[in-house]
Amino acid sequence: MTNAQDRSATDSATAPAEVDRPTGAVPSTTAAGATAVSAAKAPTAVAETSGGVVATLFRFQSVFGLLAVFIAAIIFSPRRDGEILFLSADNLANVVRAVSEIGIIAVGMTFVILIGGIDLSVGAVLGLAAVGSAVLMVENDWGFLPSIVVVLAIGLVFGALQGMATAMIGIQSFIVTLAGLQIARGLARIWSDGQGVAIAYGNGPDEAPDSFAILGERTFGGLVPIPVLIFAVVAIAAIVFLRVSAFSRHLYAVGGNEKAARLSGVPVIRVKIAVFAICGLLASLAGIVHAVQLNQGGPNDGIGYELDAIAAVVIGGTSLAGGRGSVAGTVAGALLLGVLNNVLALNNIDSNIQLLIKGLVIVAAAALQRLRPAS
């Protein structure tokens, strides 16, 4: 049938690249449209021509902003004896370490935003988890593993409860998690008696086990901080998970069109609860990382982190309306913010001017993402 042949021939020659295509939902995009156009009788197999370099590039356009900021950072970095300070190994390690907590949170936040929700409680849950790990290990003298497990479980359950309130009662997640923020913050303050709980290491009472300290160290020749490693593992696990799991399809479907998802047999309520639980879990993991890095669990830790995390997600190209976005984008978004902070600090820009510059760069980065190749 000539119709069909015409059509498909044209198709393969051009790049249809819908910019915001959910990378997770449509995973196998290595090959261009290799589908048999089936018209009437004889389905015609079409050669798999590549969707074009441009298309591929633009699938990763959240990386564009990062790249631009990275290059700007190199150009504007202060130098000493010809060395570009920004590029020095330990500075780069610092950059990533500094975003590792926000990054871990932002991965969970990506899940929540993908289903069209939002989680404002992550910063408070981080604080609660930081307090929890300090109190359990230092004051209650618990061991490393039980403490970690309990703290992670707290985050998981807290998130799941919020998920239930959203999914089962149908309250907007913004409200549920705004309330959750206050509750978690209140619990953190009560648990810690309102004071930061200092963490010292050793075998004595009132000391945390040395095994915990390791989480804050550096590895690979003292270069890579373990928190960076944890962030990397979380991010990669999330990316793989979103690519291969059936669950991820459900997640994207719920965010894309909840009604259609439900009618397709997606267990919408279960998906929502699971997603909020994952987000809570990751927030509490970030809290553990926070505590070990600062040797303290403070009840006010993580205030305002939710906005940073959401910013990373959105700069990473995930739509707040749900259904489109990717963890890879989020990682790029978090790194962009980290690089920006770092290069502004290295140049000792006045903190007020920094606010202006950051604002403008964020808008510019987002605007850059709106660009599409002309057809």
Binding site: N3, A4, D6, R7, S8, T10, D11, S12, A13, T14, A15, P16, E18, D20, R21, P22, A25, V26, P27, S28, T29, A32, G33, A34, T35, A36, V37, S38, A39, A40, P43, V244, S245, A246, F247, R249, H250, Y252, A253, G256, N257, K259, A260, A261, R262, L263, S264, G265, V266, P267, G323, R324, S375
Partner: protein, 524 residues
């Protein structure tokens, strides 16, 4: 025909979407007082051509003349100012606004103080609605309305524009026969008033009834133009598809087997009733395996609600009566539960209830059957791809690549995706709600062929449709619903469309319905 006074003259119109050439050098004219039908398969470029004319699509090749003057619209407002109005195929209404507000959106009536004159808008809206054949409270939020009612609202809205050119893109796809007849009365009035009308529809029987001229597009190109009253439906369809197509819908009468579904006096009293919903109020019916049972009824008879109840998506409330599937009583709680029982459902409104438009064809096709393509929650890509390709083949889906957004498909092809998704779940019982809404005749016959095939494999089908020819042609038996109750059951072997209509309307209405038929009975 209108060579002298062409109201609209479109020449060499071309439009590309990425790799898709939606229109290619199309010429199209419309005269004053003419009803010009635009025909073609799904994806032929009908909507695109008309979106160009109505200022919705602004980047295209070619020229448009209105009354002999070259125009180029910057947006829909420009086109409206030039007297061109369009009823869009996808119902573009604002759910949170009232019917009246929707009708006058962008052109609100004002009082002396420049405030919105709500009273007058409501009054005029009521008149307009009555004119297009529906008695709706203009203050109701549009989001509450049935699809059919929404379609009537868009018609009223378009009429209110007092346009010289009125484009109707599938205005009747969700309407039942009586509303369609009513609409034709309006169209004739408008035509008498000198309005030029472009009429797009996949319901072939309507074309001969209402159109003065028909133009066929195929693959974005002009194919032919003719007087539809002089051609048979089969000839028209052959022009569209490019080959002869079986237009008489008949599915082989598969030998029906055991009773698959039995519904006994089903009543649903929802905890929180909503206006306009017609929940089952005493429905009994059976479907045997291998049997295709039709559901007929007027707008709001409760067909959709019955299917929703069977699929477990009805609102919570007290349910009485029995639903028996293969001898076992079931209580459908959720779609997931229904699917696990072997019940599949194709909803009426594919855009809001069926698809994630900005997700890929692949993702939309396999979402209901994911566990089948891997283990331990991990998807084997090759398997899901294979399943997806298989389904595309089987349904003769017309598409570019599996990764393309399903929203870029033409309406009929979108419908096939929803359909295919359910087939992949390998159901025993298929609940179909207007499954051919907006589907072209070729694809329809594909779907019917498929239904026949499924029935042959012993699957039972419950098919709600507003198209009487479809019900009579495809189904073995038709159950007629009225006010949430089953009022009659016909074997299609020995009953006609008129019988169904009579039963759907009830006694008094039959008389009035006949009157309508006589009044509008074909063009003079």
């Amino acid at each position: 025909m209108a060579e002298v006074a062409d109201l609209v003259r479109m020449s060499r119109i071309g439009k590309r979407y990425g790799g898709v050439q939606a229109c290619r050098e199309v010429d199209f004219t419309l005269g004053a007082g003419e009803v010009h039908a635009l025909l073609g398969e799904n994806g032929a470029g009908k909507s695109t051509l008309m979106k160009i004319l109505s200022g919705d699509v602004t980047e295209y090749d070619g020229q448009i003349e209105i009354n002999g003057r070259n125009v180029s619209f910057a947006g829909p407002t420009d086109a409206q100012a030039a007297g061109i109005a369009m009823i869009h195929q996808e119902l573009d209404l604002v759910p949170g606004l009232s019917v009246a507000d929707n009708i006058f959106l962008g052109r609100e009536l004002r009082t002396r103080w420049k405030t919105v004159d709500r009273r007058r808008m409501e009054r005029e809206a009521r008149t307009l609605l009555e004119r297009s054949g529906v008695n709706l409270d203009p203050r109701r939020p549009v989001g509450e309305l049935r699809v059919g009612e929404q379609q009537l609202v868009t018609i009223a809205k378009a009429i209110s524009l007092d346009a010289r050119v009125l484009i109707m893109d599938e205005p009747t796809s969700a309407l039942t026969t009586s509303e369609v007849e009513r609409l034709f009365v309006v169209i004739r009035e408008l035509r008498r008033g000198g309005v030029g009308i472009v009429y797009i529809s996949h319901r072939m029987e309507e074309i001969a009834q209402v159109a003065d001229r028909a133009t066929v597009l195929r693959n974005g190109q002009f194919v032919s133009s003719f007087d539809p009253r002089k051609l048979s439906t089969a000839e028209v369809v052959e022009a569209m598809v490019g080959r002869p197509v079986q237009t008489m819908f008949t599915t082989p009468d598969a030998a029906t087997g055991d009773e698959l579904l039995r519904v006994d006096n089903l009543v649903l009293k929802p905890r929180r009733p909503r206006p306009g919903r017609r929940d089952p109020d005493g429905i009994s019916l059976t479907v045997r395996s291998g049997e295709i049972v039709g559901l007929a009824g007027l707008l709001g008879a409760g067909r959709t609600e019955l299917l929703e109840t069977l699929y477990g998506v009805a609102p919570g409330g007290a349910r009485s009566g029995r639903i028996v599937l293969q001898g076992k009583e079931i209580q459908p709680r959720s779609p997931r539960h229904a699917l696990s029982q072997g019940i599949g459902f194709v909803p009426e409104d594919r855009r809001t209830s069926g698809l994630v438009l900005f997700h890929s064809i692949l993702a939309n096709t396999v979402v209901s059957s994911l566990p089948a393509y891997g283990r331990l929650g991990v998807i084997a890509r090759r398997m899901e791809r294979a399943a997806s390709v298989r389904m595309a083949d089987r349904l003769r889906l017309k598409f570019g690549r599996l990764q393309d957004d399903v929203g870029t498909l033409s309406g009929g092809n979108q419908q096939k995706v929803v359909f295919g998704r359910m087939l992949l779940t390998e159901p025993r019982l298929l609940l179909l709600d207007e499954p051919t809404r907006g589907v072209d005749i070729g694809a329809k016959s594909e779907i019917y062929r498929l239904l026949g095939e499924l029935a042959g494999q012993g699957i039972g089908v419950l098919l709600a449709s507003s198209e009487l020819p479809e019900l009579v042609g495809v189904c073995d038996r038709v159950v007629v619903l009225r006010d949430g109750r089953d009022v009659a059951s016909f074997s299609t072997a020995d009953s006609s469309e008129g019988d169904l209509l009579a039963a759907a309307m009830g006694d008094r209405a039959v008389f009035e319905g006949r009157a309508v038929f006589e009044e509008v009975g074909g063009p003079q």
